[in-house]
């Protein structure tokens, strides 16, 4: 479970301005540390999934990224700018999770109204076409489905032709078809070279639509790498066995078995994540007093849970390269 070639975060000095540059972000609500030291460097043109379970700090981070919330400490820069300036210049725009639309306006009026807030925008017709809502312009927003409302928010976000597009759980509450339509519209847009950061707790969405996945848990980045690397995480198997009294030397011997990605001890049991389950089983049964050996295939879900779950926060082996 290693991401040896993660992107340097933050980027080395002298590089071109990062599209998104978050450094040392912290934000607490009372005693709850919603964001607990997030660093993130996104280059222009990257499509990044901000993946984590509910309550991981994704929305709080996005609020700070957009200037809606003030970090307790740390800095935010979008193309070298303060978020408020980036928004005032239309260089960043966002599709929020819910709300933010006037129910009594029509779809077309909402786009026209939002366009009037900018000095210059893409044409109203063009953004509606691209978001797939050109045919429902006269419909009242309150009568639109969740998916249609979300595509409307997407159309609004496209108006200023932003360099950076931020989406906070854009498909929450949508049905399968609405979700597919939404991502198709977004994917078509991503081909234009825009920087896109989207938060999601759907692993499949991150995998299907992002070049890079940043896993967050408990307000921290726990892994950061390409979608392919995350897939690799899931390609192995999990071998577990009862092995009381496993010491460091025994654990190191297990780590030395070819294909082993990580070794974790939970009480009497040892959990080994590996590409070669046969080799590990052979080692356990021949070189150790292990019993009750179980071998299970690991899905993406398992990799996700391993990286973001509470049970693994105490074992360094299971966390990816910490940013």
């Amino acid at each position: 479970m290693t991401f040896t070639d993660t992107l340097p975060t933050p980027a080395s000095a002298g590089a071109s301005p990062l599209a998104i540059d978050l450094r040392g972000l912290h934000k607490s609500f009372g005693t709850v540390r919603a964001v607990d030291g997030i660093d993130l460097a996104v280059r222009p043109g990257e499509v990044v999934a901000f993946l984590g379970p509910n309550g991981a700090g994704k929305t709080t981070t996005i609020d700070m990224l957009l200037g809606l919330a003030r970090p307790d400490s740390g800095t935010v820069a979008l193309h070298g700018m303060d978020p408020s300036q980036a928004i005032a210049e239309g260089r960043v725009s966002a599709v929020m999770q819910s709300g933010g639309l006037l129910k009594d306006l029509t779809v077309l009026e909402t786009v026209q109204l939002t366009a009037s807030f900018f000095r210059a925008t893409r044409s109203v017709h063009e953004v509606m076409e691209r978001a797939g809502i050109a045919d429902i312009g006269s419909r009242q927003v309150g009568k639109c489905s969740g998916g249609q409302q979300q595509r409307l928010r997407f159309a609004l976000a496209l108006l200023p032709d932003p360099d950076v597009l931020v989406l906070d759980e854009p498909t929450t509450g949508m049905d399968v078809e609405g979700r597919r339509d939404f991502w198709n519209a977004l994917r078509a847009d991503a081909a234009r070279g825009r920087t896109i950061l989207f938060a999601t707790h759907y692993l499949e969405e991150a995998d299907a639509y992002a070049d890079r996945i940043v896993l967050v848990s408990h307000g921290r980045v726990v892994a950061d790498g390409s979608a392919a690397q995350v897939k690799n995480l899931a390609s192995g198997r999990l071998v577990s066995a009862r092995l009381p009294g496993l010491d460091e030397r025994g654990a190191d011997a297990l780590r030395a078995v070819p294909g082993v990605q990580s070794v974790e001890v939970r009480g009497d049991r040892v959990l080994v994540r590996t590409q070669d389950s046969d080799g590990v089983a052979r080692h356990l049964l021949t070189a150790t007093p292990a019993a009750d050996v179980e071998i299970t295939a690991r899905g993406l879900e398992d990799a996700f849970l391993a990286l973001t779950g509470d049970s693994t926060t105490s074992t360094d082996d299971t966390t990816g390269s910490l940013a």
């Binding site: 301005p17 928004i87 929020m96 210059a120």
Partner: protein, 267 residues
């Protein structure tokens, strides 16, 4: 991924003219859509355009009122300008209070993701509220003039004008309450409060002397009522009425500004 480092495209921070935020305090498409929304809101149209003239017809058209003079106009005209003030007040309070619905729907938060200046938003709300206030005052006036209100035309026009201008105080009140109260249907709370204020401040019935007259002096409608009627009676305006209006205007504007700042602050 490490190969990406050389391919990063530079995006120069150039503040070109088309990216500069708009600077004007008002923007016409925004104003036009807000006015259209106002017309569409049947409930508030009925509330502000039907009720005040109806009250006028109930309270102000007795035969003896039409033949009794208050100085430069008859009692019917005196009640008419009072109801014009009431109508304008309802309209501007309701207009200001629409911010509560828009806050509840998350619209004001959405606006923070656009270059729209918060000052433009509030100014537009006030302008729209004042437009409805003018229409409401004029409807009462037209109904009044065809139902027996009579007197010095210039003074009646001045009184109605004062009612409209004075209702700006209640636009601030509406904004303040709109930012303060989270309810989606804030006017259901404010409607009765305004009616109570109108009664207590002497807009609906004369105050006479005694305890209620003393209480009335601190009610937000009291000062405006006296100022609006002054052209018809020819009486001067008391210092207390001016203090009342200025004082309440200061309270409402300060309150609205305070809540507005909190609403737009980063937390």
């Amino acid at each position: 991924m490490s190969t990406v480092s050389t391919a990063a495209v530079s995006a120069p921070v150039v503040t070109d003219a088309s990216r500069a935020p708009r600077t004007g305090l008002l923007n016409l498409p925004f104003l036009a859509i807000e006015l259209r929304r106002l017309l569409r809101n049947r409930r508030s149209m009925i509330f502000t355009l039907i009720m005040p003239p109806a009250f006028f017809l109930i309270f102000g058209t007795a035969e003896e009122y039409k033949t009794t003079s208050v100085g430069h106009a008859n009692v019917t005209a005196w009640i008419m300008v009072s109801m014009a003030l009431y109508g304008a007040m309802l309209a501007t309070t309701g207009g200001g209070a629409t911010v509560s619905v828009e806050r509840a729907q998350g619209w004001t938060r959405q606006l923070r993701l656009t270059p729209l200046r918060p000052a433009t938003y509030v100014t537009t709300k006030v302008v729209v509220a004042m437009v409805l206030g003018l229409v409401s005052a004029l409807v009462v006036t037209v109904v009044g003039l065809v139902s027996g209100a009579d007197g010095d035309a210039g003074r009646i026009a001045l009184a109605v004008g004062l009612a409209w201008v004075g209702s700006a105080v209640f636009a601030a009140f509406g904004l303040f309450m709109g930012y303060l109260l989270p309810a989606e249907n804030v006017m259901q709370i404010l409607g009765p409060i305004l009616a109570l204020m109108a009664f207590a401040g002497g807009l609906f019935v004369p105050l006479g002397d005694g305890l209620f007259a003393d209480i009335a002096k601190v009610v937000p409608t009291y000062g405006l009522a006296e100022i609006v009627r002054a052209p018809l009676t020819g009486d001067g305006v008391s210092v207390w009425a001016v203090v009342n209006v200025v004082g309440w205007a200061a309270v409402f504007v300060t309150g609205a500004a305070w809540r507005f700042k909190r609403d737009t602050a980063r937390v």
